[in-house]
Every structure is written in structure tokens, then in C-alpha cells.
Subunit: 201 residues, 2 copies
């Protein structure tokens, strides 16, 4: 449990936003969870949006420690690291009885008219995630020339879509199906020369 008032508020807000959504979570609930009174919260964060920004900055700062590091513990192969990251989200879904959703994805869709600071921070989180994937892809010798940024983007969109579908289905099947197709794609990239029209849209 974080000790400073600000850190405790951010920690509880992060948890409640992830569990219940941003709009649905009242400052009252956050105050109760963090054990602070209205004036203290207002003193630390002048608005609910300022608190959201602090939460998004926290996700960004802690991505390696809380998400990527644990996922990659004991995994050295760069391709397997990509799927270890996805496996982490799979486990979150299982562990929460399919209540889990990517907290960043939640906010990305929930905020319909985002302040530019908020939008930029969500994008930084996405971008950072893709960079980790891109770094893995850079370590692989692919048999056919392929735009690796495109592949890294596909990995993220697959994760976000797979979590969305599995949550809705209350079943891991759609998650596994899309990840299996993604792995099929990546294994074909490693193993074979590109067809003549590859990479065009």
C-alpha cells in the first residue's frame, strides 16, 4: 500500500477505473477506498480529469515493472516474448472470470471527447506497448521482407480485440482463436518467402 496520500489515491483510482470504468467510478468511491476526505482529494488533484492523467502516467511509468517484466521472466526467444505478453492478458481474463479488460483500451473507448492531454497519454501507452513488440521483432531474422511496424500494430490490435471478444463471450475461445491465427501469420513470416503481392493494401 502506497504511503503518501497522492500515491494512495492514484493506486485506488487506477484499480477502480479498471474494474468499473472512468465515468462510472465516482470520486466518492475513490475517496472511500483511499481513506481520504473530499478536501484532501481536491487538494491533491484539482479535477477528476487531473486524476485520470495521473493514472495514465502511472500506467506508462510502470509498464515494464508491472506488465512486461513479469511476462518475460524466463522467456528469452523474441517471438515467444511476444506471445508471453499476450499470455499475460489471457491469464488476467481467466483469473478475473472474464471481467478483465485492458485498462487503457477501456479508457480509449470510454472517453468520447477526450482532452488532448488524455488522448496523447493513452496513445503513448499504446505506442510504448508496440515498441516492446517491435524490439522483439527486430531480433528475428525473417525470411521475407515485411513491414515490422505493421506487424507490431497487428499484435496490439489483436490483443485489444481478443480481450474485448473474450470478455463478451465469457470464454477464452475467441482470444485463443485470434492469437492462434496471429501466431500462424508470424510463423509464416519466419519460414517462407513472401508472395509477389505481399504487404499491399
Amino acid at each position: 500500500m502506497p504511503t503518501t496520500t497522492k500515491a494512495r489515491i492514484v493506486s485506488e483510482a487506477r484499480r477502480l477505473f479498471a474494474e468499473q470504468g472512468y465515468a462510472t467510478t465516482g470520486l466518492t468511491a475513490i475517496r472511500a477506498a483511499a481513506g481520504v476526505h473530499a478536501g484532501s482529494l481536491y487538494h491533491a488533484f484539482p479535477s477528476k480529469q487531473a486524476l485520470l492523467i495521473a493514472v495514465l502516467e502511472d500506467y506508462l511509468a510502470q509498464m515494464d515493472d508491472r506488465l512486461v517484466g513479469p511476462a518475460w521472466a524466463g522467456v528469452d526467444d523474441p517471438i515467444e516474448r511476444i506471445f508471453a505478453l499476450l499470455a499475460r492478458y489471457r491469464q488476467f481474463l481467466i483469473d478475473t472470470g472474464f471481467m478483465f479488460g485492458c485498462p487503457i483500451g477501456f479508457i480509449a473507448l470510454e472517453i468520447h471527447q477526450p482532452d488532448d492531454d488524455v488522448r496523447a497519454l493513452i496513445w503513448e501507452n499504446f505506442n510504448n506497448w508496440m515498441k516492446r513488440v517491435r524490439d522483439c521483432l527486430d531480433q528475428v531474422e525473417f525470411a521475407s521482407p515485411t513491414d515490422l511496424d505493421n506487424v507490431a500494430t497487428l499484435v496490439l490490435t489483436t490483443m485489444e480485440g481478443a480481450v474485448m471478444l473474450a470478455r463478451t463471450a465469457r470464454s477464452i475461445a475467441p482470444f485463443d482463436q485470434s492469437v492462434t491465427a496471429l501466431r500462424d501469420y508470424i510463423s509464416r513470416l519466419s519460414a517462407e518467402p513472401a508472395p509477389s503481392n505481399s504487404g499491399q493494401s
Copy 2:
């Protein structure tokens, strides 16, 4: 403009939920847009959730007329039909200055503790969408044996993720990147034999 009160309410609710989100859109705004008074709305739909269910049933019933039909007009090739469907979402993003999001995806992530009727209807919408893609895939002679349900799922997750990222980036680039990678995958399926470990996860 629909004539019956119920249809007018559903039509405006559908629009407002898509533009602003479910939680954010008040019944007051829906009443104002549809030009009905509180008692009438309550008479037609006993709760906000009942109205949401009517909206989701409307999406399901009108998927072919409003989405799939227009997307496939003048497109006969089954693979091109899949990408014509995706191109439709691309155009929605462009036309709305990246405010657009898949209305079903919005609701799927926004409702954190969904009533089972709501959840089942969201899933039916996803499933129906994947069926259209699956029907296209069935018309193609693929060179290598591949689980086509996995591919259909990947198409949907790619669309949902691509819309999420493009909205956040306020740029079509991430959408195009993931769709380009998806097309690269599908073209490899058509053109080449599978590697020995294809389709495994």
C-alpha cells in the same frame, strides 16, 4: 425519420449511444432528440437497459441492410468483400474526424457488469459479423489448410483494435498498418503451403 414513437426513440438512442456512450447519454437527451416526454419514454421502455436491449436488437436486425450490403455493393471477390467491410469502418473514421468507434465495441467495453441479456446480444452482434467474414472465407480455395474460424475471429479483432487505435491516434495510420498486415497474412494463406507448425498456439 421513423414514425412510431418507439422507433424514433430507438433511432435517436442508437445515434446518441454511438456518439457519446451509454452511461454518458442521459434519458433526458434521448427524450429531447426524439421529441417525446418522460412518461412516453417510460411507457415504451420501462428502464434505460430495456432501451439498450432494443438498440442492440436493432443493430443485429439491420446489420445486413445498413452495414454489410452497402459495403459489398459492386464487390464480388470474397477476399475483397472482407476488406470492403473493413474499408467501411475506415471511411467512418475519416468522415467523423476520428470520432467514430464501433458502437458494439463501445458498449462491449463500457458495460462492466453486464446483464446477461445485454452481454448475449453484444456477442450475437460480434458473432453475426464474423459469420459474414466466414462465409467469404468459405468461398476461397486456400493453398494451405487453416482454421477459418480463427481467421474470421482475427479479422474482427483486427477491426476493433484498429478502430480503437486510429481513434486514439487521430490518424488513419494504425488502422492501415494493422489491415495491411492482415492482408499480408491472408495473401500468404492463399498463395503458399503451410509451414510445418502452422496453426498451433
